[in-house]
């Protein structure tokens, strides 16, 4: 049996983590959510996550900085950028710096799960089962 993938979700709007955590946990991932980028960076210093989901526009630390920090520690980690303030320039910067995917808000949790499924497969994990209840 595969170990559950670890996911860190960082968004300075508390509602984002609150809504995404159960939606991602229900497909068998282990999720930690953060609203404070500094705390998230500390946690990222303590352990490597399989998938990191981060907002771009936050006070003090940007999602691009989080992306660079994560990839400098672990090239294996898949970083998914989520933002409502997307522009092609920011999206391209994130992608050229190694982001796995860029997701513009508003989106449904199922959209994020679909991206996470691809990320999981890219990590050699079988991905999200089609019917997790079974």
């Amino acid at each position: 049996m595969n170990r559950p993938l670890s996911v860190l979700i960082l968004d300075d709007e508390p509602i984002v983590g609150k809504r995404l955590k159960p939606a991602v946990e229900k497909v068998g991932f282990e999720v930690e959510t953060f609203e404070d980028p500094a705390q998230a960076l500390r946690r990222l210093g303590e352990r490597d996550f399989d998938i990191v989901v981060t907002d771009v526009r936050m006070e003090e630390v940007s999602g691009i900085q989080v992306l660079e920090h994560v990839l400098s520690r672990s090239r294996r980690t898949k970083v998914i950028i989520i933002t409502g303030y997307a522009t092609v320039e920011v999206a391209r910067e994130a992608l050229v710096k190694g982001a796995f995917e860029f997701l513009a808000k508003p989106f449904k949790p199922s959209d994020l799960r679909a991206v996470m499924d691809r990320a999981a497969r890219a990590l050699g994990h079988p991905g999200i089962p089609k019917t997790p209840e079974e």
């Binding site: 933002t83 050229v96 710096k97």
Partner: protein
């Protein structure tokens, strides 16, 4: 009053040039960032529109409506500032938001590729190869953006009054040179330009109001304004929202009258299974683009098909409530609908600005007519592959009967999808035919006019037998020449899209 729009790219110095020019002219400088920030605050999904460009430039039906809202908001935003006084705007293609406003000064800034490359490497802290890829990708995204938003080419030099190459100028000198240009009488606002600005402003504010109101926000509209009279054109499938239009716009300042009208040119395309990648789709879009028409899709499935399937496929594109919590929408599992490619084709049409709605009808031919809104001014009905479960001969007969039935009842030209190209699109075969017939016409004229005396003698002969022969010759030759000439003329008109 002046409006100067500077079209800039990534790290080309356009922003610095705009700020320098605004400083010299003593006018405010406004950037695309200000516009985007305001649009975000207004709840417009600019991020969705932008990332759609990164992912290939296709807009779903829902995003196509969002595009209308964004463009109207942007026009209103610029008009608001412009009406307060002169301004310099720097962004992608601000001038395209103000069509019809003459005396705009439209400037494009370009820079040396090496300069841009170094700037990207420095600012983003990435190696040369990645910087090159970044610039190529962002430029391509911008090309897609301008094409998707305005249907024009970003790099078309005819779009601009001046192109400034900052490789040859430094920014300060370029700003000094442009200060002189901006003060030329050609770029000062005239009363006609001001009126155009006012009309655009009114129409844009009206479109924004329609996008904000729950009664009308999910529909597509084209809004024009002229001296306080607003004309709102809606698509046939949005007819239900028409009564709400005057109510939504009644409080708008500056409106004297609101005219809500249904789009006058519509194509009804009937198929059992649609495919946005098919040749048929390309032909229909080509004809619709030529006519400026919206295409309504009607999926005709056999009578007695599953009613649930019909209901699901016929439902309009769901629009989430504005300002979904934290940008996360409700996680509603959408049923997997087998809709014969209807939704994908509707999205593909929306992406090229030709969507006129989509629905599924499961009915026989005579019941089908009940499902077609007879008040819609269709210009053409296109019948594709239907009755797919039947054998070839039965299918051909049934399609022919359906076309005859629809043509007779709707009083609208009705064609089969396979005839669409030959009837309405100019192809290579048409070109060959036109050249061939034109050569024959020229030959006939050359023969007649280089032998005028002989021709006149032939037709002026006095003998009875000769007169009979001349009459017989005229009887045969005139229709032949008319046919040749008529064919050339009709093909020519088809070529220049005047059929």
């Amino acid at each position: 009053m002046q409006i100067i729009c500077i079209s800039r790219g990534t790290l080309r110095g356009g922003k610095e040039l705009a700020e320098g020019l605004a400083h010299r002219l003593g006018v405010p400088c406004l950037g695309r960032e200000d516009l985007i920030e305001a649009a975000f605050r207004d709840g417009i999904q600019v991020g969705k529109l932008e990332t759609a460009m990164v992912k290939g430039g296709r807009l779903s039906e829902r995003l196509a409506i969002e595009k209308e809202h964004y463009l109207a908001f942007s026009t209103a935003f610029l008009c608001d500032r412009a009406r307060e006084g002169s301004l310099v705007y720097h962004g992608r293609t601000g001038h395209l938001l103000l069509p019809g406003v003459e005396h705009l000064l439209r400037i494009r800034v370009v820079a040396d590729p090496e300069f841009r490359l170094r700037a990207v490497m420095r600012d983003l802290g990435i190696p040369r190869e990645k910087a090159r890829r970044y610039i190529e990708d962002v430029d391509e995204d911008r090309r897609r953006w301008v094409h998707a938003m305005y249907g024009v080419s970003w790099e078309d030099a005819a779009q601009y009054d001046l192109i400034v190459n900052l490789h040859a100028f430094n920014i300060e000198n370029a700003a000094a040179a442009l200060t002189g240009v901006a003060q030329l009488p050609d770029f000062q606002m005239s009363p006609a330009s001001l009126k155009a600005l006012d009309d655009l402003h009114l129409a844009a504010r009206a479109r924004v109001l329609l996008a904000r109101d729950d009664r009308t926000r999910a529909a597509s509209f084209k809004v024009t304004g002229s001296s306080g009279v607003l004309t709102v054109t809606y698509l046939p499938h949005s007819a239900a929202v028409a009564p709400a239009i005057p109510k939504v716009l009644e409080a708008l300042e500056g409106v004297r009258e609101v005219r809500a009208t249904m789009a006058a040119t519509n194509i009804l395309w009937i198929e059992e299974a649609f495919d946005p990648a098919s040749e048929s789709f390309r032909h229909v879009v080509e004809v619709a683009s030529k006519w400026g028409a919206a295409v309504e899709l009607l999926r005709l499935c056999p009578a007695g098909a599953d009613a649930d399937e019909v209901a699901a496929a016929s439902a309009p594109a769901a629009t989430p409530p504005r300002g979904a919590a934290g940008g996360i929408e409700e996680d509603v599992e959408e049923p997997v609908v087998v809709d014969g490619g209807l939704s994908a084709t509707a999205d593909a049409l929306a992406s090229v600005g030709r969507s006129g709605g989509a629905r599924t009808v499961c009915a026989s031919s005579d019941r089908l007519i009940e499902a077609i809104d007879r008040t819609v001014p269709y210009s053409l009905v296109v019948v594709g592959d239907v009755y797919l479960s039947k054998g070839h001969a039965a299918r051909v007969r049934l399609v022919r009967e359906l076309m005859g039935f629809l043509g007779e009842r709707l009083k609208v030209p009705t064609v089969g999808i396979e005839d669409l190209k030959s009837r309405y699109l100019f192809g290579r075969a048409d070109l060959v035919r036109m050249v061939g017939f034109l050569a024959l016409v020229v030959l006939v004229f050359a023969v007649v006019f280089t032998n005028q005396e002989a021709v006149l003698r032939f037709f002026a002969a006095e003998e009875t037998w000769a007169r009979v022969l001349a009459a017989a010759a005229a009887f045969v030759i005139i229709p032949v020449v008319a046919y040749l000439y008529g064919t050339v003329a009709s093909l020519w008109l088809k070529w220049i899209r005047m059929e």
